[in-house]
Structures are given as C-alpha cells and as structure tokens.
Symmetry: C2
Subunit: 150 residues, 2 copies
Amino acid sequence: MSDDTAGQQRPANPEIAGLAHDIRMACMRVARQVRLDSATEVPTHHLSALARLAEAPGTAGDLAERERVSAPSMTKTIAALVEGGLVQRQTDSADRRVTFLAPTIRGQRLIAAERASRDDWMAQRLTDMPARDRATLARAADLLGQVVSG
Amino acid sequence: MSDDTAGQQRPANPEIAGLAHDIRMACMRVARQVRLDSATEVPTHHLSALARLAEAPGTAGDLAERERVSAPSMTKTIAALVEGGLVQRQTDSADRRVTFLAPTIRGQRLIAAERASRDDWMAQRLTDMPARDRATLARAADLLGQVVSG
DNA sequence: TATTGTTATACTCTATAACTATA
DNA sequence: TATAGTTATAGAGTATAACAATA
C-alpha cells in the first residue's frame, strides 16, 4: 500500500498465497454460479444499474462513474430502462442540463424479486449445513467485506 | 425488505436468509473487485476459455458447452486466441471433423501470470489480517466450495 | 469557456440459421 | 442422414469523438 503498487513481489508466504487462491476462486465460483442460475430476462448490466439507483437515485453521470462505464454507454442503458418502465427521468429545475434518475415502482419490485431469487439460491444451500458452519460463513462474510473495502 | 413478490419458497428462517444475502454479496463484491482491479489487455472471455483449456484441453464443442456460449461464438474466441499465439489447434487424425485445442507455452504463461496477479490482489489483503481470521477464511473457502458443487 | 448529456460511428461479443466437410 | 465446425447475418453493449443545450 505504501510504495510500488504494480509488481507482484508479494507474500513470500506460501500458506497465505494458497489461501488467497482458494478464497478468490471460491468467491468467483459462487458469483458465477449465482449469475448463471438466476438469469432473468433483464440483462445483467441493466439490473446492475437499476440496483444502483435503488440504493441511491442520481444523475446519469454519477451512474456511469459508479458502474464504471462510459457516459454514452450509460445513456443507452438508461434509455432501455426508461423504455421498459423500470426507471423514470426527472430534469433538475435548478440546472437543466442535469437529469435525475430513480427506479419506478415496477423497477423497485423487479430489483427486490431478483435479490430475493439470488438470496434464495444461497439460503437453500445453507439450510442443509450445520449451524457451526453457518457461523463460520457469517464471520467470513464480515471478513470478506473488510477485504473489499480495505 | 422484499417479503413477497419473489415467487420462491422462502427459507422461513430469517437468520439464514440474512446470512445468505451477506455471503452472496460478499462473494460477488470480491469477484467484481478482482475482475476490475486485475483487468489486462486480454478480454475476460478469452482468459476464461484459455483457463479452461489449461485445466483440460478439448474440442471446440466441449469448450463452448463448458463456457456456456454458442458454437459460433466459441469459434471466434478460439480464432482470436490462435491468432494471438495463445492456443494451438490439432486436427484429430481419427475423425477429421474434430479439432483439439490446447494452450501454447505462451498461453500457459499468460494464464499463470494472470492467476498470480489475481491471487496477489487477495494475498496482500490477507497478510494484514490476524492468523485466526485467515483460519476462518480457510474454513469458509472450503464451505463455499461445497455450496457451489453441492 | 466548462459541463451534462446525447448522437455518430466503429469494434467486439453474442446468437440463430445456413453451409462445408467429414462420418 | 447425422455431426463438428465454420461462415453469414443481425442484434446488443461498449468505446471515443463530435455535438447540443445549459451554465
């Protein structure tokens, strides 16, 4: 975190290196499986943008930055979401260049349903698990949160 | 939030439902962060196909099925990988409709480098962690493996 | 002149359908 | 006739560059 950021001169500790690989692969496989098993009619990136707006409504520029896509790309995504009745535009009266975006009721319902579907995928697999293992996973979820944010 | 509207049979246990959400989000965030932070010049789906071939060489049809894309789509991906010197074709002498695919030395090196880069991303974050927390994550990685395969 | 968002254009990935060559 | 793979064509997502409207 201090100086050279690019290279991989890192850990020198083979145990940590192996653990890093195992955790990364486990997370990526879970993410992939969730994505593939819960495929809906709405494209992934549409859902992603919609979920962002459900967290916090904002402008097109904000959304493009938060989703890490270009502004023209976000323009198209927004157009599709508005077309589909999932997002509504509202021009800012103070600065009329700006357009605020927020999910419609239907958009909110779609996000909630999608989230529930994906959570169910995981929940059904957790119910068969010993309570002690679930406790381990609960700790791990917290630790992984630190990994990402830290 | 999100009680009904899902159409799924809920777990009925709110503790497990909450845990399912936390674990899923943690995994998806880790996967996303790894993907964004370790972006290379080679497109993601090329790397993905190449990694499959590094695990186990096979035919174009196999690869399309394993990657869950159409045959024509895989044809293009393979063409790009061969063009880039990362994969080599070899016609089956027994059935000349079939083409075997395998990574070249350069392809193997690229996959190894990519994997190392991504693992380093995680390893750097693990080194600052108490050993007990690493042990928790090691257990969790194993449990998440069961979640995906079971 | 700077900023917000859109349009213009081009490239890539994807899919279905039609084709080639083998079997 | 069936199968493995490719080519033809079209649709969708992405990007950069150029533009319009507003500040």
